[in-house]
Amino acid sequence: MRKGAHFDLEAMKARLANEDGPRLWRSLEELADLPEVRRYVEAEFPDIVQAATIDRRTLLRLMSASLALGGLAACDGGSAGKNAPLLSQSHTMPGHVPGVPLTVATSLPLNGFGRGVLVKVQEGRPIKIEGNPLHPASLGATDVFAQAEILSLYDPDRSDAPLQNGVERTWQELTGFIRPVRNELVVAEGKGLHILMPPTSSPTLLRLVAQARQLFPLARWHSFSPIDDDNRRAAGMTVFGHDVDLVYDLAQADTIVTLGGDLFAEEPGHLRYAADYQARRRMQDLALPRAFAVESRPSLFGARADDRIPLRPRDFAAFAQALAGALETGSVAPSDHPSLSRIADALRKAGPRALVVAGREQSAAVHALAYAINMRLGAFGSTIRAIEPVRPSEGDVGTLADLADAIAAGQVSHLVVLGGNPVYTAPADIDLAALIHRVPLSLHLGQHRDETASACHWHIPESHPLESWGDLRAFDGAVGLRQPVTLPLKPGLSAEEFLGLLAGQALDGRGLVQATWREAWGEGFEARWARSLEDGVMENSAALSLDVAMRDDWRPEPAAPVASGGIDVIFAPDPSVWDGTFANNGWLQELPKPLTKQAWGNAALIAPETAAIFGLSTGDTVDLSVEGRVLRVPVWIMPGHAPGTVTLTLGYGRQRAGRIGNDIGFDAYAIRPSQHSWIAVGKIRAAGERVALVSTQQHHSMQGRDIVRVVAPGQSPPPEKEHPSLYPDWPYEGHAWGMAIDLDACIGCNACVIACQAENNIAIVGPEEVAKGREMHWLRVDRYYGGDPASPDTYFQPVPCMHCEKAPCEVVCPVNATVHSSEGINDMVYNRCVGTRTCSNNCPYKVRRFNFLDYQGTDFTASSDLMNPQVTVRDRGVMEKCTYCIQRIGTARADARIEDRPLRDGEVVTACQQACPTKAIAFGDVNDRDSAVSRLKQDPRNYALLGALNTRPRTTYLARIEQPREDG
């Protein structure tokens, strides 16, 4: 199973094979003296080994532990031949049942904001992440990043020892080196010390920063994140004279207008916004909300909006101004955008129940106008509220540019980079690597030996958020505690611990966090602490609304003359790897992006119109030049993209991401200017080369077939006509499992896909295999376009196994490897499958996946430690597919049987269902007439995909609702 160090282990085991009883332990003692054992233990427990020269007793302990671990390691994967050992508990844990996972609540950071999650821990190993229903930013749902974080935790490329100029050092050597340096700095009051860290919401971290500032009054602090909200916050200052964060309440909004951005994917509260929007759509007594997406690059929100208006970035300021004007005066100039009046009317109609949101890439001016419009409509207080910034920048915090200047001016003697990977993410005109080399002493704390690590003198391994203590605030300010869910898999320090040490505190992450809250709460700490740990979020810790007022001296700045010529270049976070942080995560790399369905790479998105002008087709490369820097990128023709505009997603082209993330796609940072870091103007020239881009979907039109159904509000599609069958219906007493997927709710965010992959041990196959069409996702989200390619309707359709009652796949299997269960589930018995693949041939939905090669032994294969022990790991040559999370059904049934009670509706929740932010997926017993799923299936919108084939699918869909455009 596992390679490397385990070689020794096998040898040891072999040595011990025919020993038993006391002789075993005596031979262990002998073994303890063997050099290979020492080597092995060092390999397995570097941190402890480094602690000091180890005495035989410790060594013995470690060794037996390793043997035990080795035994465990043998459990997962096919342990043919010799039986895997039976491990006793190390000590009696009352109430703990071996094999039954524990659930731990914690928070995960994204761009400094917290998302509450529940981590399933199996025998001390975290194996799955779910959303925390109590947490405002999750409500039980997760995004792809939260789901994939578990894989990052087990990333073999995570740094596990300090580096000095690229040479591995022990922790003693590190501390030995740092201590005197720190003391000097204390004496020098931090003169020449510059600390660069990404913006954070963590109260503890902020407290420690404050403490450190007192200790080093002369030190300078810099904050940098490639995904910044500077424009938005600048606008706040100009309009309200106050730095604020905005929180939207889509559940209250009758009309939503977005100017760029993506409410459902890129905002800190995106899960919540998606959930609220769908909740609002589900309110039967209210008319459907009306959503307008004015955007340059298609977004998930745009895909769900009633009205998408593609607009060149350079035209936004004018558009926003016109809109403001229209609301002001009620009149629309004929020169204005055709759909402007429609939007203005809708906003006016909604009044305070309207909401205008500008995306983070928009200029401060556009944001300011958006604020003004909301203010005018009275949206503040109803659909939108202002709060104190969740990631405050206290004291004077410099930018990256300031740091660059300081270094250039030779003022920086010590540079500390606390997390993040600025060398990679810095704008093109700041050559941070070169600058850092000019700093006498630079030090980097990070999880990976990445670009920044290699640029700094010292690299210190940072512990993973799931390994350390901390606290994070959500988009609305609610505080969630972060607690370790496992013993550190790799030795490392958290940013808190590091700052703590810097500020002269003890190395005790838990203590640091507790100190923060003891301070905050005073007495009654213990109870609240325990409660907060259990819930994962602190009671009513959400930030209070500020009542903001427009500065009366504020006037919209006169619209700058629209630049002509050139092509607009938008930089955007990538839906799969965000800003590059997740580049080494196989699940995310292999995840087809929601709109393009591209995997393992990025591309420059352009409109069909633009492509026509330059005579480009998807895969052709162009030379894109921005402010004199040129980057050669492959283009991707993106229906609905604004003309004369290119979208580049960040996070690819990494050089030091790790074995998975290196040299994939192109690095958009290479041409990202610091002045116009979101929207720049550039030039484009066809380069004539072609690049093979990997995508999982080749055809994008439904070709007029009845695949994704659409109905008008209130209206219901023609009733399914009953297809008679030659065969008598099979009786299903007891439970009959079924699923209903509401296409009106699906926003195509892919969370279900990754959740399924994590739950069911689905293999990563790598770019070559995906290009061949061999991806293994049990659940895929099909994306179709309809209508005018300039601004098409976008339809998402998650397609898992349909579990047809008249399953065509079963009839053609020669060995009974796929048959029906008594509860109507289309079972796939891996150990019986011989791999004729004929079942896939006969599956009209093509949801079956085949292990064409041994996908458990590739460079991409995930650590066997995060495998779900409840799900068989599939061998080469067997078919696999969605099982309706049969393991979850089995566990729930077993529990019910043990407690002698019937299964309750909602007790079985499939992985995809659990992850979905909009609750688009319902699962349950269709024999029970009032189960959630049955109720959905009784909805007139319910229909079977390819129903005419009469396969009688158990998975059915609810037609998507689209309201006719209101022209006014």
Binding site: V811, P814, V815
Partner: protein, 437 residues
Amino acid sequence: MSSEAIAITTPVAEVPLSRRFGRVWWFALVVSGALVLLLGYTLVSVTILGVGIWGVNIPFVWGFDLINYAWWIGIANGASLFAAILVLRRHDLRTAVNRFAEGVAFFAVICAGIFPIFHLGRPWLFYWTFPYPATYEVWPQFRSTLTWDFWAISTHAIVTSLLWYVGLIPDLATLRDRARRKSVQRIYGVFALGWRGSVRHWAYHQRAYRLVAILVLPLILIMQSTVAFEFAVTLVPDWHETRQPLHFVATGLAQGLSIVLLVAVLLRSGLRLGRYIDEEDIDLLGKLVLTSAIVSGYLFLDEVIAALLAERMAQEAMLNRMTGDYAGLYWTAIVYSVLIPQLLWFKAARNSTIAGVFVGLSIGVGIWFDRFSIIVGGLQTDHLPSISRTYQPTLAETGLFLGTIGLFAALLLLFVRFLPVVSMFETRHDEHLEKSS
């Protein structure tokens, strides 16, 4: 009285008994032997690494494996069917062609049988399709066309090989009796099972032989239809056609005939057996091949008509096969298996060796492309556009295909070397009947 009276069939018997066999034969054997090695290599590699080394994917879970399987099985069935019909009709042509027609059928089955086993994800478990009492008490799934096919292939292999052998016994006796070296006599002697040509034996032998030859007829029809069903029973729009079995049987017959013609002309010129496989035989064969080609032509037409009458998906699928990514395959199939054979309208072509070889090959090639077009081109159009992909065969697959051709050729060469290629006793019989009449 021991004068070596030269019997009519002596030259036939002398072929296997001759001491040396000419360079051409050796060259051919070396070439095909090399291909057999290639076969072994590709089989081992696919067993070790998995079918992922082929171009297969989702939805194209089947590529060359099933294309070549369908092709070989077509040859086997075509040849057997032809042989069976001749026996049934007691046609003179049988004396000339049955022996190697059955041989061709048998070798083709061997080649075909390789694919269903090695195209499995876990080939070492192929025996799970056979109902044996396992300790896990799970049985095969008899509703599956693949299970039917398992029985069909094994039956075909067993019955045709038995039939072939039983037909060979008297001729083996002849070889036994003509062989000069004791060892050779002994070898043929063992296989002749002590045949002594007793009139009583002849009577039973003929009855049994004819009966089984006739039994083969329905077997072939069922089997070839089963192959077709493997596609027809699926929900793939282009495959889901009741006409599929007819198409496979008819085109299969064309294949079988063409290969028989090919072998016939080669043997005729190669072994100078003009006297046994005579002008009329070849001429008649040529006419039959032509007819079968015309029939295939009709079926290609029928395919289009059927699609026109079918529902929209089927129409789109057919259209895609004719104009889509894989249109080349479709048209190549028509040119090679229908148009080129029209040469045989000319007597000159029917009697020329080159033309025979050319047409024989072209039909073989044509039908291969037809199978390719059906299996790959047909699968490309499915109900959900989102899963439409393409398939490209890899070297590993191609090597496997060439390997089976090598195996087929090698077996044929050995057959020619060691066994009488036309039935000697039948020839004598005919001679006798002609004289007496």
